[in-house]
């Protein structure tokens, strides 16, 4: 088992606590964040795609969906997406500064 850095320990603490969201980001799941990250990286490697590319595409979809003000918006021939927002901001749980909009984007197949 890899040794955890102080930053990772703090991240683990924040994600398992209810400091930022009710019940905590990880809910009652006791799985280690490091294990989740490792599993995700293995999956991405298998799919030959990077986390950066996924993040860029998620941002692109969100930017289009935001215009719908909470309604479904056509993204392309195969997908539609909806962005829901709440007032206020959410602090990034990772050990670096950053405040972000409380926003959830949902993507579903275009009918």
């Amino acid at each position: 088992m890899a040794k955890r850095s102080p930053q990772l320990q703090r991240l683990e603490e924040v994600l398992h606590s209810s400091k930022l969201v009710s019940g905590g980001f990880m809910g009652s799941d006791n799985i280690s964040v490091l294990d989740v990250i490792d599993a995700d990286l293995a999956e991405l490697s298998q799919l030959d795609i990077t986390a950066e590319r996924i993040a860029a595409r998620m941002q692109e979809i969100t930017d289009i969906a935001k215009a719908g003000l909470g309604n479904w918006v056509k993204i392309d021939e195969n997908r539609q997406a909806m962005t829901e927002e709440a007032k206020g901001s959410l602090v990034c749980p990772w050990p670096h500064p950053g405040k972000f909009a409380k926003r959830v984007t949902t993507v579903k197949p275009e009918f």
């Binding site: 209810s18 400091k19 909470g70 309604n71 602090v91």
Partner: protein, 366 residues
Amino acid sequence: MILSIFIAVVIVSSIGAALAGLLVISEYFFANYGKCKITVNDQREITVDGGNSLLSVLVDDKIFIPSACGGRGTCGLCKLKAIEGAGALLPTEEPYLDTEERELNVRLSCQVKVRNDLKIEIPPELFAIREYTCKCVDIVDLTYDIKRFRLELLDAEIDYIPGQYVQLLTPVYQGSDEEVYRAYSIASDPNQKNIIDLIIRLVPNGICTTYCFNYLKVEDQIKINGPYGDFRLSDTDAPIAFIAGGSGMAPVRCILHHMKNTANNRKAIYYFGANKIKELFLVDEMKMFEAQLNDFQFAPVIATPEEEENWSGQRGLVTEAVQQNLKNASQYEAYLCGSPGMIDASIKVLLGLGMSEEKIFYDKFE
């Protein structure tokens, strides 16, 4: 042999006692900061025990600085000017302060530890902020995810400017192991000085909204502090365009009550956006304002009504309705309340219609 053991025990015990004594003395000299004097706005002096955060000692002295995170340094709201004695800027404060604020000695009061005398400046209106103990006397479902909570103030009346907000203290509960504050616009009639109505939309996994929706019950006691905020009706005669959605109804409702109470004759139109008819609420009350106010029109806009619902009102996004229907926009003032995305989209439309930026008012709670 026994003597040797006895001597060893005495030596070890003596070393332990000496170390413990050293710790006590060190704590007295290094961690005990004694009494510290805080001078606020060159007008008020408070004396506190050193060692705690500036935010917490101010709250103990009933000076409430806005803070949404309970002093964890994550919301960046508890800013004030620390003129003297606050020490160097901490890494935990840096993300929240721009260059101009740093030059003006603005600090996050939750991160500044009181170790010596301090000189600070806060906006004078914060002196008027106080804490109120309330009883929840009524909870009403307005839509499937919005409720109105009526709080009765138990120990005092509250004066506020319509459009302002209060902070609600969420106690420790199953979903949160710390007390936190969250800001909510006041939705009540300002003439009812012992009543605060809050219109709250459930945010999935939101610490405070989860508490309010799933744990807060009628007859429970709860604490709020306030009032806060600059969002308010101007004192001009310009016609008004209110644009809101969801729980953004709250400050508009309060302002409409105020307009009715003060016989304000300004022309006003209220564009309220919802995605479905089931997300519309307080329609009867808005119709009542139409009858009571001199020149007020409520214009609900539904983005995607179901066919069987036979919606005969305006369809589309609230911003589209504003774009199509707001004539002579440059003469109007706009008051925006809702999600950050709706506010940004509305500003874009209003600027495009010729409204100047200084006539657009909103509170994003960022």
